[in-house]
């Protein structure tokens, strides 16, 4: 429970920071407020997840606009790699379920996501290394 409280406090801080940055975007702040005000009561976890989801969209919006156009291809490769965090679902399916069918689907998902994780990060690294060589000049 302590860790959850800590996580919620962090979320609250994050939402406050985003709210300051995005004063005109009232909805994001409202979502953070809601999460805070109701954290003591019984709230459907969906609300918290949704609040995080909405905040992450705003974070993504500002972070991606700051990406230099020269690095848009590595951006696509790396977003590809991180969206393979869906591998957690595959791990649960393979690791926990005893049922044959679910394990099978999970295993396929695991292999596909692994291709993406390794392929995505490594190809990004390869591309970024090419931009590196020019630093000295």
């Amino acid at each position: 429970m302590e860790t959850l409280q800590k996580a919620l406090d962090q979320l609250d801080q994050a939402s406050a920071a985003v709210r300051m940055a995005v004063q005109d975007l009232a909805t994001s702040g409202a979502a953070g407020d809601a999460a805070h005000a109701l954290s003591g009561g019984m709230v459907d976890p969906f609300v918290f997840r949704f609040a995080i989801f909405v905040l992450a969209i705003f974070v993504g919006y500002y972070v991606v606009w700051s990406v230099t156009p020269a690095l848009h291809t590595p951006l696509m490769a790396v977003t590809n790699a991180i969206s393979s965090v869906i591998v957690v679902g595959a791990l649960l399916a393979v690791g926990i379920s005893a049922a044959g069918l679910a394990t099978g689907f999970g295993f396929v998902a695991l292999v596909l996501a692994a291709v993406n994780i390794f392929g995505g990060f490594l190809v990004t690294q390869r591309m970024l290394a090419m931009y590196k060589k020019k630093d000295g000049r």
Partner: protein, 466 residues
């Protein structure tokens, strides 16, 4: 490991992913960012393993899966040519889409493992989230496969227009909603697979009418879809890392699509509806005036550039096709050694995906501080002696600026016609992907260098030694 600690660790990995994207704001910080991304992924995987405590057999299976997938991924990442990057990214998108479908399939067959109920009694909310994830995932999968085939040249880049395709798509979309409602009420796996099948078909139908030149938008859009699919499944699994990542990737892809559409001065809707770039040239050409084209040789080009003070190189998709980036850099080196100022100008939609040209130039060891975006360099063409256009076409067409009847009117272009001389490397005098005649060819200051982009550039390099 407690569930609370696990949630906290997932949050940490989500934050690390944000930092990974943040790093891409500058080339010097980007590699550090990529490492954050890898660490984040590692934390997410280890946390899940600690949480799930798989049996010995399960663990073996997991390691096997990671080894197979990781091995394939690593080999592909090492071997892929930089010019094939758009295809690779499309292929990776399709894998994320299919993985999302498979995770959802596992979840519906073993809901206990994911804590979303039991077979036949899965929470309605989880089913809705899951079906959204699976529908978007399946659309991403087949859509990306089509995009891959088009980008890889295994399928014609021409739009394939089915009669009444909008009607078909609307019917399929409505059918999807009906099926999702049915899934929630009946909990039937048959309905689940029907949703998958319908979405797979929809993915194909959505992408086939979109032409090759619009692929930068399509690739970005599918990038976005793969994010939303991940986020939807994140809600099903209650996993913060997945929700945060899905939101990040979804908005990233959406922003890139927006930038690409703006680069073409087209609305997102018109790109998605498709059909652009298929028909033969209709506008701009036949005004009855006999027009002549000035052709030059590699020697002429070498002479002009060696005696210039400032040369701006404008690369396009043709440079990628001809693999001419190394020859171009050699030419630039010769020029610089001779005291000529060389810069590169990149149009937002040059190539087949966002940033495609920048990667190729980086591969050829072109320093990134010599490469400029359209808005930063466009005013400099007026002071340039030579604009060297290699493999770009529509993005230099002055009709987009001057001719209100042109189909591409309003699209931002690189003002290469304002340079004193425009050297235009091209295989033939045909029109570009948009099927539009380029009036630049007939201007007095333009000299056409007809030939393969790589060969022509190499010949120019040779001629410079004379």
């Amino acid at each position: 490991m407690s569930v609370n600690l696990a949630s906290f660790l997932y949050l940490v990995s989500g934050i690390l992913f944000i930092l990974a994207l943040r790093g891409l704001s500058h080339p010097t910080t980007s590699r550090q960012g990529n490492i954050y991304g890898m660490v984040g992924m590692g934390i997410a995987i280890l946390t899940t393993l600690a949480l799930a405590t798989p049996s010995a057999g399960g663990l073996v299976l997991i390691l096997l899966g990671l080894a197979i997938g990781g091995g394939v991924g690593a080999v592909v990442a090492r071997r892929i040519a930089m010019t094939s990057m758009p295809q690779l990214v499309a292929a990776f998108h399709s894998l994320v889409g299919l993985a999302a479908v498979m995770v959802a399939a596992a979840a519906i067959h073993a809901p206990e493992s994911f804590g979303i109920g039991t077979i036949g009694a899965i929470h309605g909310q989880a089913l809705v989230e899951m079906s959204l994830g699976v529908a978007i995932g399946a659309i991403t999968f087949t859509g990306s496969v089509i995009a891959f085939l088009k980008l890889d040249g295994r399928m014609s880049g021409k739009p394939i227009m089915l009669p009444a395709r909008h009607l078909i798509n609307i019917v399929l979309g409505v059918g999807l909603v009906v099926l999702i409602v049915m899934l929630v009420t009946t909990q039937s796996t048959t309905v689940f697979w029907l949703i998958v099948a319908l979405s797979l078909v929809l993915g194909v139908l959505l992408i086939i009418p979109i032409g090759g030149a619009d692929m930068p938008v399509v690739v970005s859009m599918l990038n976005s879809y793969s994010g939303w699919a991940a986020a939807a499944l994140g809600f099903t699994l209650g996993n913060l890392a997945l929700i945060i990542t899905g939101a990040l990737v979804g908005s990233s892809g959406a922003i890139l699509s927006y930038i690409m559409c703006k680069g073409m001065n087209r609305s997102f809707i018109s790109v998605i509806l498709g059909g652009f770039g298929g028909e033969a040239a209709s506008a701009g050409g036949d005004d009855g005036i006999e027009r002549t084209v000035k052709q030059g040789s590699a020697d002429d080009a070498a002479y002009l550039m060696m005696n210039a003070q400032k040369v701006i190189i404008v690369p396009g998709y043709g440079m990628a096709v001809a693999q001419a980036q190394h020859a171009v850099r050699e030419m630039a080196d010769k020029l610089k050694a001779n005291g000529v100022e060389v810069k590169y100008a990149i149009h937002p939609v040059a190539g087949r995906m966002p940033g495609h040209m920048n990667v190729l130039l980086a591969e050829a060891n072109v320093p990134y501080d010599e490469v400029f975006e359209l808005e930063d360099i466009n005013s400099e063409f007026a002071q340039a002696d030579v604009a060297y256009v290699i493999g770009a076409n529509d993005v230099t067409n002055p009709s987009a600026r001057d001719d209100k009847s042109s189909p591409i009117y309003g699209m931002p272009i690189l003002d290469v016609d304002k340079a004193r001389t425009c050297l235009f490397v091209k295989r033939s005098l045909g029109s570009g992907y948009a099927g539009i005649d380029n009036t630049l060819f007939y201007k007095d200051g333009t000299m056409m260098l007809l030939g393969d982009a790589k060969k022509m550039t190499e010949e120019i390099v040779k001629a410079m030694d004379h």
